[in-house]
Symmetry: C2
Subunit: 401 residues, 2 copies
């Protein structure tokens, strides 16, 4: 067993994976079609939005992933293929079939994902025409192109990979993701694809992925809007010849690596949030349990007043108290403590005589940390969010046109 | 019985009420201290924020209103007197005592309210010094000055009064209110004071006020942030000599007048929401019950993506579907209908071939109407909100400094 080390290569860092990203013409410019391919059938797990309005690819993926085995992920940006009724599912199916046919696989081995504008039919012809080129170009360094091809309003591609040794063997986990608006807990408008060369049965993979997503993508929020398309897919192809065994420590080391990848990608999404100028960590402690801690952290992280305050760099900490107090959990005002960075701004429900200049410096940096101590119990959580700027409004007022 | 007619005069339109507003020096400029006074002890009712962090005046008012009788309301803007611990309650008490002493009343006859920045001690000395002048200037046309003196980021004072005849007698109800950020259902950052010369027992007044607030102030949202200071206070002094009797129609006529006043003020708050450029009505129908209809309307009304879309004037209706689908109520995608104005943009879960130019005109006006039909039952609701503009961000990034 060894420590977890970051390495280059994203989803193609693990053995036995290829990837590629090309332009097929859905977006006005830039690459918009990505593929991630395992040389052999892989254990597959997926998690999707809890929104009742779901993109077409989610219905398809849920069906295809039932076997626990898949081999390829095809994703497009620029069109969400959502709110298109049965036609949308047929369109997603056509993409699946086109990829399967060129790869000589059963369609059920193909997972698909879409992100972009809601309510427009998927341009299947453009995608199908580009698939031969997409597949031909797949390579062992293709992660970057794939990461670029899933971007919408993202300003940078998001990639990470980690490596660790287990019983003399090397295991690698890699991931890519895209944000960056409509991102909120309970799965955000985000796509993330994670690969590993560990050998792990589908059920264990699903269990590990669920916990890792709960601690990462479900702990971030950009604008509190829950997407219709959120998707995390993971493939584990066993190419490292290292079997994860729940009976020894290997599984927990593997889980730590997976959480590292997921948390790293989640933080990248927040840092590249639409219009974001600041990365904000919201810690809640002293809650009666973790659920209540999450509820308070979510309220504060989604508060437009807290987010604009941090954008403005003005330590109007009362907005943090007001927002925490509006959560549907029991809070006692007269034992509530609040900190910005390491400065206590509220003690037992009242303001403190803090150093205003020091505080101003703390909220004016690129990162800010808020800590709320409810002093009621041992429940705690951490959530990550960003500020709300004029640029967010501009971007979202002009998104479709 | 007669129809309800709008009249001038706000809270001083009903007989037996005086009001005034002066500058005592809390805000940088403008009037910041208001009074509303009944010539005789009046039935009194109040409703306050459900936020667990409450302004000091709320603790005091709840105690003083227990008798069901009060005679005067004193309100300041520029300072919320919230998060000040026990000192805050003592400060609010000092204001109560100062007003009571100058009016020769018991302190329990005085209700107080504050709005403004959280976490700064109330400048009691400034307020106490201004109280003699405030009281001396009270007059039968003072509603406008009182409405101005409770403004914070409001751009216009909000006043309304209605009059109707009952059994040959004339009854008047008047109100003033202030917004205009931190406004969200479950009582918003708003103060509203309502007066009437009807004679009505405190319990009946409270019941009528509760229903009217549920249909008005609890149906508006500006930014989804729930305030610590929300307060609605109502005084009924009986000066019209018209007793409201639950046994005949008079009570329901009275209630209709009260709802008219409350809804009018609530809509004024939304129209003057921070940075608002558009007034938006969100209708939800076909829900299984009203609670679920409210839940969906609230989600859509609070969605930054829907609000920025309407600000941009771009009919990206998928955001409405996505937002509705994220509400924690059962929604069936394949029977969901959505309209913007009278144009159906989504039918049975899929986009329609609507006239894009007509739709663009509909979302580019000063008012926009969204209707969501869940097609599941008979529950319906209406909620009012505004768009989210760059100006909102600017205002809230600079609020304290």
């Amino acid at each position: 067993m060894s420590r977890i080390q970051e390495v280059n290569g994203g989803v193609t860092a693990p053995l036995g994976f290829k990837a590629n990203g090309v332009r097929c013409g859905i977006k006005r410019k830039g690459k918009d079609l990505a593929i991630i391919y395992s040389d052999v059938p892989a254990s597959a797990a997926g998690l999707w939005t809890s929104n009742k309005i779901k993109a077409a690819h989610i219905y398809l993926d849920k069906r295809n992933i039932k076997s626990g085995i898949a081999q390829v992920i095809v994703a497009n940006s620029g069109n969400a293929n959502c709110c298109n009724g049965k036609a949308g599912i047929e369109d997603a199916n056509l993409v699946t079939q086109a990829a399967a046919s060129h790869l000589n696989l059963k369609p059920s081995m193909v997972l698909v994902a879409s992100t972009g504008v809601i309510g427009k039919r998927l341009p299947v012809q453009k995608i199908s025409s580009a698939i031969p080129m997409l597949i031909k170009g797949m390579n062992r360094r293709g992660s970057h192109d794939a990461a670029c091809a899933i971007m919408t309003t993202d300003t940078v591609p998001k990639e990470i990979a980690v490596r660790f040794n287990l019983k003399g063997r090397t295991v690698t986990i890699g991931g890519i993701a895209k944000g960056s608006g409509m991102v909120s807990p309970d799965m955000a408008t985000m796509l993330s694809f994670i690969t590993t060369d560990a050998a792990i049965p589908p059920d264990n993979l699903k269990a590990a992925l669920s916990v890792a997503v709960e601690k990462s993508f479900n702990r971030i929020t950009i604008d509190g809007d829950m997407s219709t398309n959120d998707t995390v897919l993971m493939l584990a192809n066993g190419a490292s010849n290292m079997r994860m065994d729940e009976k020894d420590d290997s599984f927990s080391i593997f889980y730590k690596g997976l959480e590292y990848v997921a948390v790293s990608l989640a933080k990248m999404l927040v840092k590249d949030g639409e219009g974001a100028t600041k990365f904000i960590e919201v810690n809640v402690r002293g809650a009666r349990n973790e659920t209540e801690a999450n509820e308070v952290a979510r309220k504060v992280s989604n508060s437009n007043l807290v987010k604009t305050m941090l954008y403005g760099g003005d330590p109007n900490w009362g907005r943090i108290a007001g927002s925490a107090g509006s959560a549907h959990v029991s809070i006692k005002e007269d034992i509530l403590d609040i900190y910005i960075g390491d400065v206590q701004v509220m003690k037992k429900g009242a303001g403190t005589a803090f150093d205003r200049n020091k505080l101003r410096r703390l909220v004016n940096g690129k990162e800010a940390r808020i800590t709320i101590d409810l002093n009621l119990g041992n429940g705690s959580t951490t959530m990550w969010t960003c500020d709300l700027s004029e640029e967010y409004v501009r971007l979202n007022a002009e998104y479709e046109t």
